[in-house]
């Protein structure tokens, strides 16, 4: 079909003209450097007193930087998809896209790819800030980069949520608000629900804890705590939710969680494709009432 993916080209071109991307990149990096710098400053002044170069306190800063960066990425991602379709509906360009040869799959996938590129650029731009707290070692650069790769499926999930929400809506404001609500919900509910229901569950453990696998925070949290030598943190969280912390689930929690989230992402994208395909579906908002 189309050789040069017009939507990707246009999105990236338009974004390169705006100030949003550079502003976001600067802001995120500023926050991360500030955390890294102030943290290291405190640690280093401690070290001067003791004369020992100990990487361990720095690892706490590394973890803080990582988690902050990750949460920021999750909060930034909706910008790139939550208004992508509802926005075109608002300006009236979406109808035009539908009349061209682009298929709904083309439209959704091209918009996803361009969003991934933009978010990917932001993630990569944060690499120096991420590595700053590692000047005394403790975590190898390779594993830090490996951790950064883990951001990608998580950002992808948030982008998919945004794409889905925006495919169902006609208003940018509404779909953006909905997307943020969904992201915050997805981060908090899988933790809160099992924690709150724990007292009512039987001894064998809380089944609702498996919901944690859908939490985008979990894989990164698990990976970073493992890296800084606190692998027990995830077990603590699981125990808090009432899951008996053993078995394959705890063992492969990162892999399972990423898989679950990718599956969720693709399911949402499929729904988005269905949403934007003109059709005779009577269940749609303006469909015909039951005869």
């Amino acid at each position: 079909m189309t050789r040069l993916n017009p939507i990707i080209k246009r999105d990236l071109e338009v974004r390169s003209r705006g100030f949003t991307l550079p502003i976001i990149m600067t802001a995120v990096n500023a926050v991360l450097f500030l955390i890294g710098f102030l943290g290291s400053f405190g640690v280093v002044s401690q070290m001067r007193l003791s004369w020992i170069a100990d990487p361990h306190p720095m690892l706490g800063i590394y973890m803080t930087v990582i988690l902050t960066e990750f949460v920021l990425i999750l909060l930034i991602s909706p910008i790139y998809t939550a208004s992508s379709i509802s926005g075109e509906r608002e300006t009236g360009t979406f109808d035009l896209l539908l009349t061209t040869r682009l298929t709904p799959v083309n439209i959704i996938s091209e918009k996803m790819i361009s969003a991934c590129v933009s978010v990917g650029v932001i993630i990569v731009s944060c690499l120096p800030a991420m590595l700053l707290p590692l000047i005394y070692g403790g975590v190898s650069v390779q594993s830090a980069i490996g951790l950064m790769l883990l951001f990608i499926p998580e950002a992808f999930l948030v982008l998919s949520i945004g794409m889905f929400v925006s495919s169902a809506g006609h208003s940018v404001v509404r779909s953006t608000v909905l997307c943020y609500a969904a992201v915050v919900g997805l981060i908090t509910v899988p933790v809160l629900l099992p924690v709150l229901t724990k007292p009512f569950m039987l001894e064998q453990g809380n089944r609702l804890s498996y919901l944690l696998a859908a939490d985008p925070l979990l894989p990164v949290f698990a990976a970073v705590t493992r890296q800084v030598g606190r692998p027990g943190a995830v077990r603590q969280v699981l125990a808090m939710t009432g899951l008996v912390p053993d078995g394959a689930f705890t063992e492969h929690i990162i892999l399972i969680s990423v898989m679950v989230q990718l599956a969720l992402s693709f399911a949402l994208l499929l729904l988005a494709v269905i949403n934007i395909t003109p059709g005779k579906r009577s269940w749609k908002k303006y469909g015909r009432p039951q005869e």
């Binding site: 040069l4 080209k9 338009v14 300006t91």
Partner: protein, 321 residues
């Protein structure tokens, strides 16, 4: 070329299109007129395949219409009522973007874009940002964009609304020329006079169905036939009235001084016959005429309940500039 048959469309319980049937023949310039909310946009979106009717069918050049039929879909160029403008994109990029959406590659896309921009006289704006264009220019750009894959059918939703008289004139010039080149064109408006001099065919829609349609000339004939005959008498008006009262074909009468207005049922020959007999009777008739049909008046009559609205918007856009 484009057939809409018995189309129904519901928004919830509200029936936006009620058994709409339209036949648009090849090469015609079809004026699709109706007051605001009559269902024009809905009908047009159904023709383009963007939305589906709940009942009924659309046929494009003998092929089934609807979104899943890419073949018939790409035969239609669509100019929506909103221009469909992307911010932060230059005019030439806008055109090339849509060319690419039709699978046209670099050189070909550029060539077509340049030709079309020249055609709508926007060549000197090629490097301007789309959002900086004036309303009229945006409308012309939207037209150029709709022609990027050279579709045989062009459907425009209220393209002249909100344009100043000069741009409107230019725009109509272009549309007329496209029609001369053989494109089948549907152009909607809530202002009949705005497009009536342009069209070869007309369809008047009200509350979701066509209330009158046909070739413009035929419609004009029907409209004319509805009008009263005015008979002006030099003298002897009372005798003339008495004479006319005895005539079977005279349905009703109104008198204003020496003018008698009659609603006459019959052909042109019957009219001539009536005049002859009046003269034979020795009645001094010095004027006998049927008022030429005014499309505007019939439009107002047919869409009577929406009259205030139509009149209001008519005035508003007329006084623009």
């Amino acid at each position: 070329m484009l057939r809409v048959e018995n189309v129904k469309k519901f928004y919830g319980h509200f029936c936006a299109l009620d058994d709409l049937t339209m036949h648009i023949s090849e090469g015609s310039l079809y004026g699709f007129v109706g007051p605001n909310g009559a269902g024009k946009t809905t009908a047009i979106r159904i023709m383009t395949g963007i939305i589906y009717p709940d009942e009924g069918t659309v046929t494009v050049a003998g092929m089934p219409g609807g979104y899943e039929h890419a073949e018939s879909r790409s035969m239609i160029g669509y100019v929506p009522d909103a221009f469909g403008i992307y911010n932060n994109l230059k005019v030439s990029e806008y055109m090339e973007f849509f060319a690419a959406c039709y699978g046209l590659d670099g050189m070909e896309a550029r060539r077509r874009s340049e030709n079309l921009l020249k055609y709508v006289e926007l060549t000197d704006k090629a490097d301007f940002y789309v959002e900086s264009l004036s309303r009229g220019m945006k409308q012309k750009l939207a037209l150029a964009r709709a022609l990027i894959n050279d579709p045989p059918i062009l459907i425009m939703d209220e393209p002249t609304s909100g344009l100043d008289p000069r741009t409107r004139y230019e725009f109509k010039q272009i549309v007329g020329e496209l029609s001369d080149r053989g494109k089948t064109i549907v152009i909607s408006s809530h202002i009949l006079s705005d497009i009536s001099e342009l069209c070869t065919d007309i369809g008047i829609i009200d509350q979701g169905s066509i209330v009158m349609s046909g070739r413009l000339m035929d419609v004009m004939k029907i409209v004319t036939a509805e009008n009263p005959i005015i008979i002006s008498m030099a003298r002897r008006t009372t005798q003339a009235i008495r004479f006319l009262k005895a005539e079977k074909r005279v349905r009703s009468m109104a008198i204003k001084g020496n003018d008698i207005m009659i609603n006459f049922e019959g052909t042109a020959a019957d009219e001539a016959q009536l005049l002859k007999r009046m003269v034979d009777e020795g009645l001094p008739v010095h004027g006998f005429s049927r008022e030429k049909g005014s499309l505007e008046s019939i439009f107002m009559q047919l869409t009577g309940h929406g009259e205030e609205h139509t009149v209001a918007s008519y005035d508003a856009s007329e006084s623009y500039h």
